[in-house]
């Protein structure tokens, strides 16, 4: 409902075309000059690519998730709160950092503490007599959300700290009739120094944000952009180039890049669109002069240059030299960054890197 007007705007906009349930079969070309083929057969040219493929909620395997209808994730709990809880609960236990801040995902998922506290406050408003326990390692209510943490404390939400060596345990009480086991949460309170056993009407797991590592990997290979070890797309520079990649022409925003709140995604998306516009408003792109050049007389077409180029800027192609067709490397001047990896790998000295040629280096060696 919140997005209804935005969706309408998108549908009516003459310059926006939405393809539902399609994947990108192939992307050819380079910055300013892409041609893409989609799985529904659509084929079109474009100048830039914006990656906003998002991420998903972690599906917990720990803390008894799946073994009881009352052990849920924060998003599932939000749904239930919105629909209305069946009966007045007595105890609600929330467990933070589920699937985050420990191997195999060491990162913080950023939104879960805020969400948990938001839900905790909501519960307290609906049922002031309920005991709400938030079991945490650290509370990370970023920015102004810290005020909600204060509010939660004021409203009487209990915060119990634990560490990785003393995790909460979910014990199932066999006494309730057959179908629905009631979870009891066992946790050592570090302040009291004692163990607490809380019979929970709901155990709400603050499940983190996970990247679709496989899908992102596949897309990254198509676009020739890097993925970090957690499966998220990696920007060119965290501070100086936060919405672009080292490969020109591709931009990123939102959860595809890293866990973040909705307004942060929106801000990043606006930034990425701006950066894409900087590219798209130019009629021509100037390539910097320090690019590679191939000497066809020396080239053996071994393909080593193509293998070592990190920017896919050089590749073997059939070219007409004089009267014959030969397989020779072709340099894409828009993509070549002038690093010289190709020139250094060429065993025939067939590649000339303008600005740092072999002759120049040898001359320096002799002269110095």
């Amino acid at each position: 409902a919140m997005l209804a007007s935005t969706v309408e705007q998108i549908k009516r906009h003459p310059l926006i075309r939405v393809h539902f349930n399609t994947t990108v079969r192939e992307i050819k070309g380079f910055v300013g000059n892409y041609e893409s083929i989609l799985s529904d057969g659509a084929n079109f040219k474009h100048g830039a690519i914006l990656v906003t493929t998002g991420a998903s909620e972690y599906r917990p395997t720990e803390y008894g998730y799946g073994q009881s209808a009352t052990i849920v994730t924060q998003t599932e709990f939000s749904d239930r709160l919105a629909k209305g809880l069946a009966k007045q609960p007595k105890n609600i236990v929330m467990i933070q950092c589920v699937g985050s801040r420990e191997d195999p995902r060491q990162y913080c998922s950023r939104v879960c503490c805020s969400k948990a506290i938001q839900n905790a406050i909501r519960v307290k408003e609906l049922f002031p007599a309920v005991n709400v326990y938030v079991l945490y390692r650290d509370i990370r209510t970023y920015g102004y959300r810290e005020l909600y943490y204060t509010e939660a404390r004021d409203k009487g939400v209990f915060f119990i700290r634990f560490d990785l060596d003393h995790r909460p345990e979910i014990v199932f009480d066999g006494s309730s009739a057959g179908t629905k086991p009631t979870p009891t949460v066992v946790i050592k309170d570090t302040v009291l120094g004692q163990q607490l056993k809380i019979k929970a009407d709901y155990v709400v797991l603050s499940a983190g944000i996970v990247a679709d590592h496989e899908a992102n990997d596949a897309l990254a290979k198509q676009l020739k952009v890097p993925i970090n070890q957690d499966g998220f797309f990696m920007e060119a520079h965290a501070k100086l180039r936060p919405v672009e990649f080292a490969t020109d022409g591709v931009y990123v925003a939102g959860l595809a890049h890293s866990p973040k709140a909705v307004e942060e995604s929106m801000t990043q998306a606006l930034a990425a669109a701006s950066r894409a516009c900087v590219l798209l408003t130019q009629k021509e792109l100037n390539a910097h002069g320090t690019v590679s050049n191939v000497n066809p007389e020396r080239c053996l077409a071994c393909g080593l240059c193509e293998k070592v180029c990190a920017f896919s800027a050089i590749g073997l192609e059939l070219q007409r030299i004089g009267k014959e067709d030969r397989l020779l490397p072709k340099v894409n001047l828009a993509l070549c960054k002038g690093c010289g990896a190709c020139a250094a790998s060429c065993r025939c000295s067939a590649i000339i890197l303008r600005g740092c040629t072999e002759e120049q280096v040898i001359a320096e060696i002799i002269a110095l």
């Binding site: 070592v308 600005g355 320096e364």
Partner: protein
Amino acid sequence: MKETSAEWQPKILAFLCTWCSYAGADLAGVSRIQYPPNIRIIRVPCSGRVNPAYILKALHQGYDGVLVSGCHPGDCHYLTGNYYARRKFHLLKDLLDFVGLEDGRVQFSWVSAAEGAKFADVITKVTEKVRILGPNTRMVKTTWSQTT
């Protein structure tokens, strides 16, 4: 400190990558950090630009030592250049060992643009090592003239 002209000084060639090692050297200079003056620097865009043949050429020319320095793994400005440099260096080292060049004449390092002090440290260590090894006699190109 004054050296007499007869006393041999190591002559070391250093290939520094533009984005990290050269900037690190620059920082060492700006910070007025002292280090031995025995290196001659060739700035390359990336440590991956260095063809092992250049290192051999330098040794033929009479340099007593060669240093190749690049960005830390994962930080290469050109993404993967330093990885290729490391692999090439590894293979070259095997070849040089086989050929009989003393261990320590050809060295490889990672120095970032913020590591001025580390750069000075690396140069000091490399120079000392080469000084101990003495002049390069095994791979320097020599010509003899025959007198009748």
